[in-house]
């Protein structure tokens, strides 16, 4: 098995560059640490919520008054972090323009408008009817806290209405089914992105490891032995996947040491990480195909790196239009970036505690992308470097 020999060669070469290996392994954990410091670790931020309560209330048949608007507000107020501090600071106001101004000033994060028929709809739902009403969420979407605060508020409101109407959703929320994400520290919310970041960094290793054989001419020697691009790249890739696994484990251990708790099973996160690293390494091979030297590989690798970091949602959310729809899924241009799916999957596992069946779509997408990128990498590499 020549690919095994290539794997061993990679391991041996890496052994002599231990500090580079150490540096790349330490990178993501270091960022975990930095984020932990910046976010104050377990010290949590509470998000300012403004509420305009138009709910008029209703007198029920048994003579009692139902004021669902006020009850919903209380439901938001009782959300707390693990340490007992409130997640949402809820303030009732009456003036919408004033509320919008404080959103723009970022004094508050979300403005929630409760409709006048809120209590009535809930009461009707309780008696078996199926009316609906809409809760309006207003927020500055460029405010990075918006998503977090909205998720929290929706969680609280949704669980309130569901408890009142026994599973019938009388109130349409902006985003439903995001339950379970309560009680995450801000630090924990950044962790999936950091995991993906750790995996993305492997791309540099991949591109540069291959470029070293190109630059030194040793690839010419291998070419004479009629080594195939597939054998060479799969051997190298296997080594890099091993590094990726170690990176993921080290990053997770670091995060765990600083108080990170995953809601879902860790092995699913690792599986996501491995498949992501395969596709990332595939991209690294494409980069290497275009490189003649190690430094060229480094410079070229920065391009996909930029896309991965800034367009995949690893660093911040990206609003992207839909290209087309497959099986009820909206596919957009950022879906060709493996980290997009990795971030989505890790968020589900870490924050929402989703099981394997919940991330099947992402795993399939990542596997498909891995195959595509790796195949392109092999094809290009053969064309650019192994053809006589």
């Amino acid at each position: 098995m020549r690919f095994l020999s290539v794997l061993r060669k990679c391991a041996r070469e890496q052994k002599r560059d231990l500090w580079i290996l150490g540096l790349s392994l330490a990178f993501a954990p270091l960022f975990v640490f930095i984020y932990w410091m910046f976010t104050g670790g377990n010290v949590t931020t509470s998000y300012g919520i403004l509420v305009i309560n138009h709910d008029v209330g209703i007198t029920l048949s048994d003579g009692s008054n139902l004021k669902s608007g006020e009850e919903a507000i209380s439901a938001m107020e009782v959300l707390t972090f693990k340490d007992g501090s409130p997640i949402l600071r809820v303030k009732s106001i009456t003036d919408r323009p004033a509320g919008e101004k404080s959103l723009r000033d970022r004094d508050a994060t979300v403005l929630i408008i409760i409709p006048p028929d809120f209590s009535q709809v809930i009461a009707e739902a309780q008696s078996g009817e199926t009316p609906t009403t809409t809760l309006e969420f207003v927020g500055d979407l460029t405010n990075p806290y918006y998503t977090v605060a909205a998720v929290m508020a929706i969680t609280a409101l949704d669980s309130y209405t569901v408890s009142m109407t026994s599973e019938y959703r009388a109130v349409e929320l902006l985003e439903t089914a995001l339950g379970g994400s309560a009680a995450r520290t801000e630090f924990e919310i950044y962790i999936p992105g950091l995991f993906v970041f750790a995996v993305i960094l492997i791309m540099f290793q991949a591109a540069m490891m291959v470029a070293r054989d190109i630059e030194s001419g040793t690839l010419q020697r291998l070419k004479i032995t009629r080594l195939t691009a597939f054998e060479y790249l799969s051997g190298t890739t296997t080594w890099l996947v091993l590094i990726a696994v170690v990176t993921i484990l080290v990053t997770f251990a670091t995060a765990a040491a600083f108080g990170f708790r995953s809601q879902g099973a860790l092995w699913i996160a690792i599986l996501v990480g491995i498949i992501t690293s395969l596709s990332i390494i595939g991209v690294g091979m494409i980069v290497a195909s275009f490189s003649k030297t190690v430094s060229q590989a480094f410079v070229i690798a920065n391009f996909p790196f930029g896309f991965f970091m800034f367009l995949s949602g690893a660093a911040f959310p990206v609003p992207m239009g839909t290209l087309f729809t497959i099986a009820g899924r909206d596919i957009s241009i950022v879906d060709i970036l493996p980290p997009t799916h990795a971030v989505a999957a890790l968020n589900k596992v870490f924050t929402l505690g989703v099981g394997l069946d919940g991330v099947i779509y992402e795993l399939c997408a990542l596997s498909l992308l891995s195959v595509i990128y790796f195949a392109i990498g092999v094809w290009l590499f053969r064309r650019m470097h192994l053809k006589a």
């Binding site: 020999s5 002599r16 560059d17 001419g217 040793t218 004479i224 032995t225 009629r226 006589a388």
Partner: protein, 336 residues
């Protein structure tokens, strides 16, 4: 009749407007050492790259034991070992590790590759450096390792592009001896700028220039037929060198005086046998003659001088060398 193991036919390679190799055709016989000579940029490395399948020729073909090299015959490759002109090593692997690795790449088992690697390191004087990273070797040691890498898989045909470059005399002898020891069992193609090396090692040499094959023959035959021939210098006693010269001219009707030496160097006419020229003598009491196989005429010349009343003292004979042949064919001009 010797068996042809490697055959190149009409090999041509162009780099833009430059024709680096122009319709090169060669037959290399089993068990011979075949020297490929030519000035810098003549196209030796390009030819070798095409021969071992690294470079796709624009035209022509190469076959090893009748199997085409270009066109995916993996079998043809494992029979060839290549030592590139440039030292190409894995800097982060030790000497033994890279021998092992390349051996495995050629399909040799790890155990055998390791064992052969150790043997080669010993034979090429690198045993002490077995477990050292190749980056830490001296230039000459790297060159030797470069040669070793071509041999781990025990190839039948060995292609060496300037194996002696950058070696000290000890290493040169070592490598040369090693190549000579292989010569019986393997077919060797080597390029060199060292005419001495080629003369000592090669059974046949090819001289190419500007991508064109000029001659292919044994070094002896080339020396006998090409170049300005041997130089004969005679110390003349009793009579003057001029008188002696007159007597020699009478005895050798083909003798012609070289009109202008520098002109002769620039456009060297391949000399025909039995044409001799008179050279400037190194001493006042000497005559100097040059010609292919002039040594054969020595008795006639001495006879003529004695008949004219003279005596011959010291006799110096400098034989025609491969370098003379080379210069005669490729000229003196430096290649840019």
């Amino acid at each position: 009749m010797n068996k042809v193991v490697l055959q190149a036919q009409g090999l041509t390679k162009k780099f833009g407007s430059l024709t680096a190799v122009d319709e090169l055709s060669l037959d290399v016989y089993q068990g011979e050492v075949f020297g490929l000579l030519g000035p810098n940029g003549a196209g030796k490395t390009t030819s070798i790259s095409m021969i071992c399948g690294l470079l796709e020729p624009d035209a022509g073909s190469v076959s090893i034991h009748g199997l085409p090299v270009h066109g995916g015959q993996v079998e043809a490759f494992t029979r060839v070992g290549v030592c590139p002109q440039e030292t190409i090593l894995w800097e982060k692997l030790t000497c033994l590790e890279q021998l092992e690795f390349i051996g495995e790449m050629y399909g040799v088992s790890r155990k055998v590759a390791r064992q052969r690697g150790e043997e080669l390191l010993a034979l090429l004087g690198l045993s002490e450096k077995r477990d050292k990273l190749s980056a830490t070797l001296s230039g000459g040691m790297k060159r030797r390792l470069n040669v070793a890498l071509a041999l781990v898989h025990d190839p039948e045909i060995l292609v060496l592009d300037e194996p002696e470059a950058g070696l000290d005399p000890q290493s040169r002898v070592l490598v040369r001896e090693y190549i000579r020891s292989l010569a019986k069992k393997k077919t060797i193609i080597l390029t060199t700028h060292n005419m001495d090396e080629a003369e000592r090692l090669a059974d046949r040499v090819a001289i190419i220039d500007h991508g064109v094959l000029l001659v292919v023959d044994t070094p002896e035959e080339l020396k006998r037929t090409i170049g300005e021939g041997d130089v004969l210098e005679l110390e003349i006693k009793e009579i003057s060198p001029e008188q002696a010269m007159a007597a020699i001219e009478e005895a050798l009707p083909d003798l012609s005086l070289r009109s202008e030496q520098s002109a002769a160097w620039q456009s060297p006419p391949p000399q025909e046998a039995d044409r001799f020229v008179v050279e400037n003598a190194p001493r006042d009491d000497m005559v100097s003659l040059r010609g292919i196989n002039i040594a054969d005429k020595l008795p006639t010349i001495i006879n003529a001088i004695q008949r004219a009343g003279g005596q011959v003292g010291e006799i110096h004979l400098r034989a025609n060398t491969l370098e003379d042949v080379f210069i005669a064919l490729t000229g003196r001009r430096l290649r840019e």
